[in-house]
Symmetry: D4
Subunit: 220 residues, 8 copies
Amino acid sequence: MKYEDLGFARIDHDRKKRRGFPEVVLCEGKTDEQAVKIIEALAKENDNILASRANSDLYKLAKKSIPELRYNELARMIILEKKSLPRVGSMLVLSAGTSDIPVVEEVVETASIMGNNVESINDVGVAGLHRLLDNMDYLKKAKVIVVVAGMDGALPSVVAGLVDKPVIAVPTSIGYGASFNGLAPLLTMLNSCSAGVGVVNIDNGFGAAYLASLINKIGE
Amino acid sequence: MKYEDLGFARIDHDRKKRRGFPEVVLCEGKTDEQAVKIIEALAKENDNILASRANSDLYKLAKKSIPELRYNELARMIILEKKSLPRVGSMLVLSAGTSDIPVVEEVVETASIMGNNVESINDVGVAGLHRLLDNMDYLKKAKVIVVVAGMDGALPSVVAGLVDKPVIAVPTSIGYGASFNGLAPLLTMLNSCSAGVGVVNIDNGFGAAYLASLINKIGE
Amino acid sequence: MKYEDLGFARIDHDRKKRRGFPEVVLCEGKTDEQAVKIIEALAKENDNILASRANSDLYKLAKKSIPELRYNELARMIILEKKSLPRVGSMLVLSAGTSDIPVVEEVVETASIMGNNVESINDVGVAGLHRLLDNMDYLKKAKVIVVVAGMDGALPSVVAGLVDKPVIAVPTSIGYGASFNGLAPLLTMLNSCSAGVGVVNIDNGFGAAYLASLINKIGE
Amino acid sequence: MKYEDLGFARIDHDRKKRRGFPEVVLCEGKTDEQAVKIIEALAKENDNILASRANSDLYKLAKKSIPELRYNELARMIILEKKSLPRVGSMLVLSAGTSDIPVVEEVVETASIMGNNVESINDVGVAGLHRLLDNMDYLKKAKVIVVVAGMDGALPSVVAGLVDKPVIAVPTSIGYGASFNGLAPLLTMLNSCSAGVGVVNIDNGFGAAYLASLINKIGE
Amino acid sequence: MKYEDLGFARIDHDRKKRRGFPEVVLCEGKTDEQAVKIIEALAKENDNILASRANSDLYKLAKKSIPELRYNELARMIILEKKSLPRVGSMLVLSAGTSDIPVVEEVVETASIMGNNVESINDVGVAGLHRLLDNMDYLKKAKVIVVVAGMDGALPSVVAGLVDKPVIAVPTSIGYGASFNGLAPLLTMLNSCSAGVGVVNIDNGFGAAYLASLINKIGE
Amino acid sequence: MKYEDLGFARIDHDRKKRRGFPEVVLCEGKTDEQAVKIIEALAKENDNILASRANSDLYKLAKKSIPELRYNELARMIILEKKSLPRVGSMLVLSAGTSDIPVVEEVVETASIMGNNVESINDVGVAGLHRLLDNMDYLKKAKVIVVVAGMDGALPSVVAGLVDKPVIAVPTSIGYGASFNGLAPLLTMLNSCSAGVGVVNIDNGFGAAYLASLINKIGE
Amino acid sequence: MKYEDLGFARIDHDRKKRRGFPEVVLCEGKTDEQAVKIIEALAKENDNILASRANSDLYKLAKKSIPELRYNELARMIILEKKSLPRVGSMLVLSAGTSDIPVVEEVVETASIMGNNVESINDVGVAGLHRLLDNMDYLKKAKVIVVVAGMDGALPSVVAGLVDKPVIAVPTSIGYGASFNGLAPLLTMLNSCSAGVGVVNIDNGFGAAYLASLINKIGE
Amino acid sequence: MKYEDLGFARIDHDRKKRRGFPEVVLCEGKTDEQAVKIIEALAKENDNILASRANSDLYKLAKKSIPELRYNELARMIILEKKSLPRVGSMLVLSAGTSDIPVVEEVVETASIMGNNVESINDVGVAGLHRLLDNMDYLKKAKVIVVVAGMDGALPSVVAGLVDKPVIAVPTSIGYGASFNGLAPLLTMLNSCSAGVGVVNIDNGFGAAYLASLINKIGE
């Protein structure tokens, strides 16, 4: 199996073949120089690449050598999409509140470049149930639903109780005090009284979209 | 102010005057002998008394000297009610699941002896929202609502979003794994995205009823 | 039921009817642009609005389009109060120390705009009991008491032991070391040996005032 | 929507229509009498039912009124399967060690009665990688993979790195000391360096199977 | 320096000289045979010895070879006191509730055999402040005060605010739910808003008495 | 009892009489204006005052109205000492490492102004035992010993094993990773295998000195 | 690579070649039937085998088919040693207290069967330093030292400060209260102020011995 | 035994003789002045010294008086190496990802100056197993292996399962959300299902190298 050794990184060029999409770069924790070199190495071998948790300085640096790069500031993502994959299936992203939107954006960008039809409905938290119930049509036509929520993290339980499709729950670090940086909604989601919920790491929009994409592409 | 010194306990006979109801005995952690003596001392001065977290052995022992005692096994409560207080106001108790019923029973017994009209509706958790929404009439006519829930603890957020009255939330230790003995629903409830929720200790049905009673009696 | 879809937010205009006060904006976690647009949308439909955890930059931005806005820097709140509600009932706010005052201010602003008579007494922590006992008259005449305390969080237990009215306890993140950002007083309050205490999230002055207001308005 | 009110429980008979399978009974926390009555109520309306975390005493009691019941002791499940659903798709269950088998059994029973083809391969933990790599053919032909692991919980990361299909990870409470009853593998799985992993509660074989079943049935 | 090697234990016979009292045996975690042999070895060299967290079976076994032993069941302590030390100074032990008495007994036994005048006042928790304030004379005449409390653990803060002498605080595991086996009162006591409080381990009556004895003997 | 109400603070002027030293100002969490006003109010009634966790800006502000103020930058303390109390007794402060010195300084400043003879010996942690054992003479002549340590927090156990006097242990937040901001040494100290150790909050040099001062003054 | 598939277990017969010793059976969490079958399968292929965390019932059951088995009750280990490996090198095991001996026994049994010279010195905790310092000769002649300690877990820091050889630290669950089942000594050891310490899981005597054996055999 | 007293520090000049390498300076938590004086004191007595967690300002300051100093920015280490020790043995350092490189650098610098042959292979985490398996030759020829990993921390379990040599595991704080600053990989490593793993503190590259050096030098 093939990989490229940069010394500080070992680019797993086999991953696209093995897992269906090239390695995604988690920029946090890497120096800007390291991140840019990894992006360049990936760009040489792939049409579409994605880098997450990237700040705008890194984007500007990377854009110098790869002008086609695009940046989504809310999602903190750098995107190269030279040959769009056809969008298939039907993924729905729900958020409990406006503050969860950066994570929603990370889900949408990831799902899009990986070739999924994706729609998002924001601010439908359980404090005003009618906002959710008004959108039952969207819930019914989706193949897979990603639910993003902080604070009490109650939305995935309610959503999973209404539908017969997989729900991927993303706790967010939105909130304060006894939210303990997302621990509260994480525990809520793991204890969901409705079955059919899979949970990913706090603020991990990328991971939720990746899993939802694997599900959404079944049968397409 | 008046109290009675038993050596191992100082019965706060002033409490009824100061707080409206005699001291309630938390039996857990006391020897059976201690608990019985405290119950006897209270029974000498009061018509109505309540002992919580009592097992049936203790009940049998106490009943020997005070035959009027009654025992609610699910609630693990010993009750003496020689002169019932008139029931006033309107307290509603909701539970998310059948397993929460022991705590519900503790709420109902406490609320009753303290002189509140109280009704309970069980098993209306958010996994099947229609079970709750079907009971909106009950929610609307209550002065105060106690919500008992384990696992994801999502019910109080949903309830508080539907009404304009105080909601007292009781997390229960029902569940397993990442419920961490009730930590999960406790955090959920403290982070409720709906305002108007006050939280008490895990499994503390007595405390919830006491607070709800103080609220329910306002204006009566 | 009515709401307004801004894309990033779904303004729950039905909330005033359903819950008695319009949606309150939690600014933290939202971009300034989002927060201002939500404030503007609410201001079009309501006379009185409240935005919490807002910094002064956001206030200045919002004031450009809504000059009637007022800012309470300690409470970090933006307030619009075009038609004051009549002040009713009697809410008392106690704080254990001077450092708890920002949370006290959040309680007072929220309670005021929601139409409650509210008074605060600061720095009456249990290290000097006489400061509290000197104010028994205030405690006795209140319908509901909000107690704000950090560090050991012992004040609500003491207060609830003295009165026969609901006590809403707010732990604060004041303190250091084993306070663990408010975890210590939170646990203290949940374990209060005096019944009649409902607890809200750490630093959640708004939530405490909202719940206390629901209680204070009973019978008015 | 339809449900049956037993007083202590509200049987959600609508759930089969809404979610594809009747309500599953979590027996833990219910009295035997409650559990049996719920099982009876479900059995009147459904051909296939499932009760989890049931001990053998409860099974014997329930079998008196419903002789067709079957009991899987390792899985602690009571099963009624009068009209088997056709088995479709391809679900694979992997366990890290022999001690994880009770959870594996819960997955297999749940998946079977819900109509899934399911196979399990046990004891393929990362301490002896070749045991896993020898089974790559099974991994490749599965539509969805459930991975059950305690202690270090490392197996899902390794599995997800090898395939392009959804991985549902179940941490178990197997282990001791710093496993903290399953907290360690739970955190490991949430932090998986391979994307495509959804996590459920500790020891929640039922929940993993339910989610995997929803995925496995897509396109069938 | 002198010690005796039993293979499984190294009796620190020098300790009495170095620290003023012979080694105290913590029985928990030792086999009965080990504990008895250690007690015997100590009894050969000392007039007064103390063994903590001992059950009655161990006591009966040890009494066979050392008939002078005495057992305090509540304190779970085995005591040998052949030559009583003169009681000096003035140590006061306060407990918040009846359930804390086993720890109080451990304090009293330890303090007594180490030669301290010691008195205890039970059940003076902050839910009824007058019970404490009525005993101000005892607080004033003590040289050192040990305060034992579970649940909210608020009593040491209140006591230390009233006096100018050292307060040793012992959190107890009494309580339930968010007490988390004594974590709540432990944190409360560490965050005491009154200075002058030193904290020992949860339920560690022995340790509190040992420290209080060192203090109480100063100047005697 | 006497106190002065500043609105935002209630100066407990009775404290000096009741507890032997005027209220000490914890500046953290107060605005500079509040802190200065409290310092001024105290300075009007007392010769000696102390303010902790103060930054140099606050010091400069306060010095404008009270020129006699002194500032200890390492200890972050503002000191007014117009009439030095006579230094009595013998307090010893030990630190495990150089990084613990800010806390040592807080101990020394507090102990000095409260009228104690105090000496400190730094950097005698258990990684080089001989550094401690070389100072046995100092340990032997002290009446009370304060031990300051971060990281493993092992020093108090070793010290208490060597002497027959009270040891006050102060965990510090020095360290990283699994120190969890001082949680590790805090737990170590609470579990000390040597009796005679009282623990205060993480980094709480003031509290340790206050308690040690109460002890040190016994018999003087 | 070779393994044997028992259905519920996959015996890694390659492990002896790959890692130097056959798979060790962790009995906890396995049914007795499973554990016996695994022991039998290993016994067919190996002269020496080891099973940990085994109770005496399991031992009796296994002994029926393999009469050469031996049982160490304190260590809870089943041992088969048909061809003893030559004992090489020099491993020293130190324990802080008598209660740590079960873990010491697990270390000694494991180290012995794996072919190491191993000696243990018990009850040399830091509460009586001279007990440790008296044994410096043993410390100096060892190649590797295993240190077993509960409660404050301070011993490894002290030992590592005295020698220039690897120290393997094993926290034990001995203790109570704020030991939190071994969390306290675990954190202490991870934060050791002396370098040269590697930590294993709480109570994991087997793991410590395995690692120490790998080290002890270097150069033999 | 010899040490030098600087007042704020006690330089343990005996350590080189006792433990084989002079004291290493942990700069974090010390003032720049303190750190420089300690470095100067060590440089007077030793040819080779090491200071960890040092920022570049401190380096510049120290270089003024000791021009031979070198700085490794990634490792945050200041190095003086006037007489290189001969490099012996064979230490291998593996990292799971690029973000772990700062810790790898700390390992490599420490190991080098202490006289070890050391090689590192980066970015061989379990998401792409072939990257690790391709380097089996390096694993086989090493005497000791240090494994650095954040997030799921799964790499040490996999590595230890492949070899028969000691593995020192270093969890890193790389990651987000439920990594809880390195708690997740720390727990994973302590629960490794492969024996032969010793764990050090989060991000403690120095400690890992120190321990690995002690092992690597055995027999050299």
